[in-house]
Structures are given as structure tokens and as C-alpha cells.
Amino acid sequence: MSEPGAPTPPEGGGKVENPRTGGDYAPSVARRYALAQRAGGIVVPLLTVILAFLIGGVVVFATTGSNPISTYKAIFEGAGLNWFVEIGSYELRLPFTDIHVPFPWNVDDIESTAAFNLQQTLINFVPLVLTGLAVGFAFRCGLFNIGGQGQYLAGAVIAVWVGSELPGLPGLVHILAAVVAGALVGALWAGIAGFLKAKVGTHEVISTIMLNWIAIWVGVFLFGLGGPLQNDTQPFVPVSNDILDESKLGILWGDPVLQALHVGFFVALAALVVYWIALNRTTLGYEVRAVGYSPEAARYGGISVARNYFLAMAISGLFAGLAGAIDIVGWAYRINTNDVMISSQIAFVGIAVALLGRNKAIGIGLSALLFASLVTGTSTRNLDPEIFRPELASNLTLLIQGLVVLFVGADVLILSLLGLRRRRRRAAAEAVSE
């Protein structure tokens, strides 16, 4: 991206022609974030977050007169992060083994409010990581996948259906079937947008948003009164069947009767690794990144831009569909028409997660944790209404999300102003030679 003070490098000289004849509607997103990604570090994202929270605090104070500090503290507690405050010497049993290792926190505590809240946070962490990875992967190819909501929903719907039918399958197989089916349908849903982009150049923002709404209405139709997937036992409740017990994921931590943290947690962590590997150690990742940074140069190098657009969207949808499926087999177990609209909104947070995390695996992991805390901490069940009204708080989350997204766009500029003088010197020297 051009630096301030340096003229645009010369293009082809000569005849003035309209440079566009259709296709690329707006310049690639990935290139603009290349600078930020390369700069790495945690400072600027941290500053972004602090700034967003600051402004959020101002809004809180200005509108309700509440003390923002105590509000944020209440959110902190609502997220269960205060569980980490109690450090002692406890033991942790490694999963699937009998080995005990010393661990500073009390994992046997599954009942205290802090523990319960933390479990909720981690439960939210899972889909946020996955939808963040979805958005991030698409971004790396220069595409903006806003369709996480629809893809999540598609995954969830299929998972519910597969999970509640076919009784008698062994547990692991059934779970795998539901989850894999969910991921694939998510990939398909996103693939539609990817296909349109590849073939015709349709801008993915518009196509994915339309697909979101189509998914929502199809979902409402399927589980509504008289709909084909409405449950068999309560004809007046617009809800799906419960998934069978064998399709439910195992519990990691917490009380199974209430919502507890499920094995999907590991799936999320594994997904982070898979994401990194896919982008940095595979030829597919190489192509995706090349297309994201410079579709023209990739094309001249023999890479098929259209194919990568499609694959990137499909893989993106895979992650998002996986999120929906895991949520179902992990804790939701059913969908009702109300959920169709509400639960899938988690996918939008994924956008902020990806952007704040600079579309990198580590960043996405950390920012998913941040936003999971925010989402859980402000939810109706967890936030102390004496301190702050939860309905207000969930909108506060939206505000903070919006601010983060807004600032991420601008901090690229801050970065280029602050440092990296060497590169600017080069670019200026180069550009001045006309």
C-alpha cells in the first residue's frame, strides 16, 4: 500500500483506457493487512482493545451513570475470569490417562460460580475460535466472509438432523457423522459464494449476507410449526428433536446436568493448529496467501485465482459449519426457531476475532478468549443486574466489537506512521524514480 509522501509508482504508460472491465469490485483486503500481519506483536492489538474498552466505558458512564470500572469488573466476574485469581497448589489429571501433574488452579471445583462462569466462557470460546478461523482463512485469500452466520447455521441444522436420526450407531461414529456432515454443509454453503466469486466475480460480501438470511429463513421453516424437521413429541413448540445421547460430546469439566465444557474445546485448539499448518506448510496455503496478497502476480505465476477463491471460501465455511455442529453436539443438543436467529449471531463476533487477531492462529486464539469473556460476561445469566442491565450489556458488546473492527482498519495506518521507516525510504526512493 502506498506510503504517505511517495507518489504512486508508474503503471503502463500510454493510451488512457478504462482499467476495469468488470470483476474485482474493490481491492483485495488481505494486502492491506499484510503490513499489520508482518508487524506482528501484541502492542497494537492491545492498544486497539484498550481504546475500544475506553470508549465503551464512556458510553456506559454517559448513558447510565454507572461506574465503568465496576461494570467491567462485573463483566470480568461474569466471565469467570476471577477463577484464575485463586492460585494454590492443586493437581490436574491429564485427559485419557492417570497421570497427575501439579497445576496452580483448582480444577476439581466445578460448582463455584466462578468455575461455572469460566466453563461458559470456554464453551463460547469454541465457536468463536472456529468462526474466527473461518473469517481469517478467507481474509488470507483476500475475501471477506461475512456469511459465518449462515454457514454456522447450516452446520448446526445438519448436525441436529444427523444427530437425532439413525439410532443404534456407535457413539463415536454418530458424533463424527454429525460433525463432519455439519462441516461439509458449511463448506457447501460458503462454496456457493465462492463459486459465484470465482466464476462471475460476485462480491462475496453481498452474496454471503444474502445466504445468511436465506439460511435463517430456511431454518425457521424447518423447525417451525408444521415444518419438516419439527420435533415429533411437542407439536406446538417450534423446536427440533433432541440429538440422541450417543451423539453428545463427552464432558471435560463441569456438571453435565448444567452446561459443561465439552471435548469440543480440544477440537478448537486442534483447529488453530490445523489452520496454521494449512496456511504455512501446504501448497494450498501458499497459493491462498499468494492470491490474497496479489491476485495479479499469482495469476501471472500460473496460480488459478478462481480456484483458490472457491477453495478459500469453502474451507472458510468448513470451519464455520464445524462451529455450528460442535455447538450442537457439545451443549445445545437442539435448535428452536428463536435460536436460529440468536445463536448464529456468534458468527459475527468471529469477524472481530479474526481482525483483532490479525488473521493469524495465535492472534485468533487470544482474541477469541477475549471476546468469549466479553460475550459470556455480559449475558443475562452471568451479569449481575444490580450493577448493569444485561440487555444493555449485550449491546455494549456489539459496540465494543464494532469499535475494534473500526480501529483495526485504521491501525494499519498508525503502524505505517509509527515505525518501519526503512521500508518507506526504499519505497520512496523507488517511487521517485520517474
Binding site: 500500500m1 504517505p4 509522501g5 504512486t8 478504462n18 482499467p19 476495469r20 472491465t21 468488470g22 470483476g23 469490485y25 474493490a26 483486503v29 492491506r32 493487512y33 458510553v59 448513558t63 447510565t64 471477506f144 461475512i146 459465484l196 462471475v200 466475480g201 460476485t202 462480491h203 460480501v205 453481498i206 452474496s207 449476507i209 444474502m210 445466504l211 445468511n212 438470511w213 436465506i214 429463513w217 430456511v218 421453516f221 417451525g224 410449526l225 408444521g226 415444518g227 459475527f348 469477524i351 444493555l392 449491546n395 455494549l396 458488546t397 456489539l398 459496540l399 465494543i400 466489537q401 464494532g402 469499535l403 473492527v405 473500526l406 483495526v408 482498519g409 485504521a410 494499519v412 495506518l413
Partner: protein
């Protein structure tokens, strides 16, 4: 004058393709009131003619329109046959053309405002994905203003101010900070959603807006009321709908017939060239983006004050994006976008009346406008030409 008009009509194979499209529509229409033909053969046959014309157009090289004719021919057959299978009573209930048209105008109006706003912004080179958020802000602040300040004109003013405010944020980040415009627009949508939801609950709590807020009046044209068809459609339309028409015309005038419009377009095509003749690229873009915010907000205000007379969180449900799609579909021209907006409005109107036909399927029909939008942008974008510098931030030296 007539020659110029005739010269602009399509010729040759393009004319055939367009005829194919019209005939495809005809295939569906013959099964509906007032004709209500009952034999499925008829729409099928007509549709086949449309498809044939489409195929022929493709062989003559007119690909996009040709495919359009084929798709519409198929749709015409499908829908026409479906219509012949449903009962006459149902048809009469659902397809009341005058009511449908009036409803189409009502649904199209917010889209029209937002689309015209989108055209200004995009023509100046700034992508405005935040139309949705600006519309929503207009909806909320419009009704808030009408409620607290007591009159709908003041409400509209508040709405415009809110739209301008969000537009200013978007403009600043996109123009001055040269941030990514699509991400910025998305941020605006989040912010608007959060802010309007927050304030809505803060001010109105759980009960929602009061029922007696001053609403935008309808315009009674009594001399029209007795006219066949036109009477029920145009005789009693909301003021905003008329304003929407005016806005479309004004947009066309300003953009193509005034110096300001020329400069806006110049800035959107080749900002450097405009800069070198002394036009302020930044200022022009700011004006265009603020205008788009104001117009989108007015569209949203119509939704809340003029149409349903209340506010719900996220009540725009994606309309801002449909408006953007209309801009693209209409090739960044006011009349094209207007046509698209009427199409989408029509689909919403139809979706509204179809519950009379089938309860649960009615939910599916809610998806109709979105499906249509998807088809529209899928079929069009590859060949349409946006303003050359749209989405690229300009760098002043």
C-alpha cells in the same frame, strides 16, 4: 427527442433477448388474475418461447441477457404451472394487483432512498457497506426524535443527523485514514446495531416505543381515487414514497446534469486527474458519503415512522445490503437501481401476501427478496463496470 428515445431502445439480438425476458414474465402472468388461465400447457408453451428466444440470443453472442431470458422463462413456466394448480380463490386473494403494487411501492421506498445514497457514495469512489447501519440509525433516531420532539419532521431531521453522523465516521476512516472501506462499513453496521439497541433499551426499556408517535402522513390525491387501478395504487401513498420518487429523479439530475455531479463522477473514476484540475477529492468524497448517510437514514426513518410506526432492534434486517445490491444491479445508475429496487419491493410485497396461500411455506417466502438479490448480483456483476476508483483510498501529496 423521440428519435433519441428510440435510439436508446435495444436493437437486434439484444431486442430478442429482452423480448424473451418479457415473454417469460408473461408465462407466469397469464396464470394470474385477471386472466387466470387454468391449463398448465399455456404457461409452459409461452415459457418455451422465451427460452427459445434466450437460446437464440446466446448464439448471437448476447450471453448475459440470453441467459436471463432462459432463467426467467424457466421460472415463468414453474411459477405459472404452480399457479394453475392452486385454487382460483387463493389466487384472487393473493394477487390483487393494485394492492400488490401499492405494497411494492411501500417496500421499495426505504430501499430507494438507501440505493440513491449508495450511488452517490460509490460514484465518488467510496464503498459504503454501512448503508445498513445508517438506515438502522435513521430508523431509531427518527422515531426517537418524533417521539421526544413531538413531530415527524423533527424526527426526520434527527434521522438525517444520525445518518450523517455515522457517515462522517465512515468517511473519516475511509478517506482520511485510508482504512479498508468494506471493513469500515461493517464496523459501522456493528456500531449502529449496538448503539441503537443500547439506546432503545435504555430509553424505552422492555415495552418498546409508545403507540401514538407522530407519523408521516399519507398524501391523498382525491382526484385520482376513482381511476381504475391507478386510484388504489397512487391515490393514497405516504409522503415519503413521493419523496422517494423525487429523490430518484433528483439523483439522476444532479449526477448527470450538474457540475457537482460531474465532479463527483470524476473523483470516482480518476481522482488524481480531478485533483490536478483543482477539485478537492477529499471534500467531494466527504460530501458524497454524508449524503449517502442522510439518504439511507431517511429510508430507515420511513420504515419506523412511516411504515410500522415503531422500532425493533435490528429492524432493517438486511435491507441496506439489498439496496447496495440494487446499486450494483442497476450499474450505478439511478434508473437502473430504481428498477432493481422496485423488483425487490415487489418480491417483499408478494412474500407478505403469500401466507394466504400456505402457512408454513410462507416462512420460506420471506427468503424471496434475498434469493432474488443473490440471483441478481450473480448474474450481473461479472460484466458490470463500477466507477474505476471505487474502494481505492486516495492519497494526496
Amino acid at each position: 427527442m423521440i428519435d433519441r428515445l428510440l435510439a436508446r431502445l435495444p436493437h437486434g439480438s439484444r431486442a430478442f433477448a429482452w423480448t424473451g425476458i418479457l415473454i417469460g414474465l408473461l408465462a407466469f402472468w397469464v396464470a394470474l388474475p385477471p386472466l387466470k388461465i387454468r391449463e398448465p400447457v399455456v404457461p409452459a408453451a409461452i415459457g418455451l418461447i422465451a427460452i427459445a428466444l434466450g437460446v437464440w440470443a446466446i448464439t448471437q453472442g448476447v450471453k448475459r441477457l440470453g441467459w436471463g431470458a432462459i432463467v426467467i422463462g424457466l421460472l415463468g413456466i414453474g411459477l405459472g404451472v404452480l399457479a394453475t394448480r392452486s385454487s382460483v380463490a387463493h389466487l384472487d386473494q393473493v394477487v390483487v394487483w393494485s394492492a400488490l403494487t401499492a405494497a411494492m411501492l411501500r417496500y421499495a421506498t426505504p430501499l430507494a432512498f438507501a440505493a440513491m445514497g449508495g450511488i452517490f457514495s460509490e460514484r465518488s469512489g467510496v464503498v459504503n457497506i454501512g448503508l445498513e447501519g445508517m438506515m438502522l440509525s435513521g430508523a431509531f433516531f427518527g422515531i426517537l426524535g418524533a417521539d421526544k420532539l413531538g413531530s415527524w419532521p423533527l424526527g426526520l431531521l434527527c434521522a438525517a443527523a444520525a445518518g450523517a453522523g455515522f457517515a462522517l465516521i465512515h468517511a473519516f476512516f475511509a478517506i482520511h485514514l485510508r482504512a479498508d472501506q468494506i471493513v469500515g462499513g461493517t464496523a459501522i453496521n456493528f456500531l449502529a446495531l449496538g448503539l441503537t439497541g443500547y439506546l432503545f433499551i435504555d430509553v424505552y426499556g422492555g415495552e418498546g416505543t409508545p403507540p401514538d408517535i407522530s407519523d408521516i402522513p399519507d398524501v391523498h390525491l382525491s382526484f385520482l381515487e376513482s381511476w381504475y387501478f391507478i386510484g388504489p395504487v397512487l391515490g393514497q401513498l405516504n409522503l415519503m414514497i413521493w419523496l422517494a420518487f423525487l429523490t430518484i429523479v433528483a439523483t439522476w439530475l444532479v449526477l448527470f446534469k450538474t457540475p457537482i455531479g460531474l465532479r463527483i463522477r470524476a473523483v470516482g473514476e480518476h481522482p488524481r486527474a480531478a485533483d490536478t484540475v483543482g477539485i478537492s477529492v477529499y471534500k467531494t468524497r466527504y460530501v458524497a458519503v454524508m449524503l449517502s448517510g442522510i439518504l439511507a437514514a431517511l429510508g430507515g426513518a420511513y420504515l419506523s415512522i412511516g411504515f410500522v410506526n415503531s422500532f425493533n432492534q435490528n429492524m432493517t434486517v438486511g435491507r441496506g445490503f439489498i439496496a447496495l445490491a440494487a446499486v450494483i444491479f442497476g450499474n450505478w445508475r439511478p434508473w437502473g437501481a430504481a428498477a432493481a429496487v422496485f423488483l425487490f419491493g415487489f418480491s417483499s410485497a408478494l412474500a407478505q401476501r403469500l401466507p394466504a396461500y400456505s402457512e408454513s411455506a410462507a416462512v420460506l417466502f420471506q427468503a424471496l427478496p434475498y434469493v432474488l438479490t443473490l440471483i441478481a448480483v450473480a448474474g450481473v456483476i461479472g460484466r458490470s463496470i463500477p466507477p474505476a476508483s471505487v474502494g481505492r483510498p486516495y492519497q494526496k501529496q
